[in-house]
């Protein structure tokens, strides 16, 4: 996902087009900047919303990621995909925010969340995630919600794969316990 050096079918066109946009961005072409924003903003905001659980903050972070990405676009190697580069910037910015946020201690009533990813479920999940240390929280979200592979989580979080494995194990176990406390299962 992060290193899209091997492309197939329509992805080839997309990747080639993206490389063109990146080249034009380096020359200060605003149309190319807009094209890159339009292509990647949904994914960035979605990921940031999953990590931060706050839509407005997620949009702020996504904008910040674009700014940082464009400012440092000269650092992007020619053979690397802009999408992966941008995604990593975004996740790291989210992690910085999570690190700064003090874990909110939330009182739980016993709640029975509704099925189907409803608002109520999201509120419960948000409270549970807020109680996990940010490394565990980010690992869990990237793996379970964003469905990244272990390699991708390791790369984006700048940690060895063994660390991802152990963090994920701990995060799942702690999340299970928190879940039991919350829903009284």
């Amino acid at each position: 996902m992060f290193d899209t050096r091997v492309f197939s079918g329509a992805a080839v066109d997309q990747a080639a087009q993206e490389r063109q946009w990146v080249a034009r961005c380096r020359e200060g072409d605003e149309t190319a900047l807009s094209s890159l924003i339009a292509r990647h903003r949904n994914r960035l905001v979605r990921t940031a919303t999953n990590l931060l659980r706050d839509r407005h903050e997620a949009e702020d972070v996504a904008q910040e990621a674009f700014l940082k990405g464009f400012r440092e676009i000269h650092k992007l190697r020619e053979d690397r995909a802009f999408s992966g580069y941008l995604y990593k910037i975004c996740v790291r910015l989210c992690m910085d925010r999570l690190r700064l946020k003090r874990a909110e201690l939330t009182e739980f009533d016993s709640v029975q969340p509704h099925e189907g990813g409803t608002v109520e479920n999201r509120v419960v999940i948000e409270k549970l995630l807020a109680q996990l240390p940010y490394e565990l929280r980010a690992t869990l979200v990237l793996r379970e919600m964003e469905q990244l592979s272990y390699d991708e989580v390791a790369e984006v979080m700048h940690v060895p794969i063994g660390t991802v494995r152990s963090r994920l194990h701990t995060a799942r176990e702690r999340f299970r316990k928190l879940w039991i406390e919350a829903v009284g299962e």
Partner: protein, 149 residues
């Protein structure tokens, strides 16, 4: 009542790993066998599975689409424009400062060149009464006049 059996740790490790890799046949058989006899592990596994399912369901998908604040793109472009202007000012300012210093030096040099004595400083004929602009004439104080009388 739940009973903790030999192999519970292995069961928990494998039941976590099954989310992330394909277990071997032997591992799957171990899980099945242990699950059938250990109620504690069975319950724990079901809780874990429920919790993770709810977590996955709470993910924001592409529903975020089309609900962006209208100035999303414009804000990014504006900040980039401001930044590039700042950078160009920073880039050019040493040149401007240099030019200013050179200009001031030229002016100062011109001021230091002595006036030629052959040129009269004014066209006033010699002997004409002369008063500088700042000098004030004595004022007439009526009260003082009364006292003199």
């Amino acid at each position: 009542m739940s009973v903790r059996l030999f192999g519970c740790s292995k069961y928990q490790r494998l039941s976590n790993e099954k989310f992330d890799r394909t277990l071997s046949l032997a591992e799957r058989e171990f899980l099945a066998k242990h699950r059938s006899v250990c109620s504690e592990c069975r319950m724990r596994e079901s809780q874990s599975s429920n919790a993770l399912n709810m977590l996955r369901m709470a993910a924001f998908d592409d529903e975020v689409q089309d609900s962006f604040e209208p100035q999303f793109e414009e804000r990014i472009l504006r900040k980039l424009r401001v930044q590039s202007t700042r950078e160009s000012v920073r880039y050019w300012s040493p040149a401007f400062v240099g030019a200013m210093i050179a200009g001031l030096a030229v002016l100062a040099t011109l001021q230091l060149v002595p006036n030629r004595p052959s040129l009269p400083s004014s066209n006033r004929p010699e002997g004409t009464a002369y008063r500088t602009r700042g000098e004030r004439l004595p004022t007439l104080d009526i009260n003082k006049l009364d006292r003199i009388r």
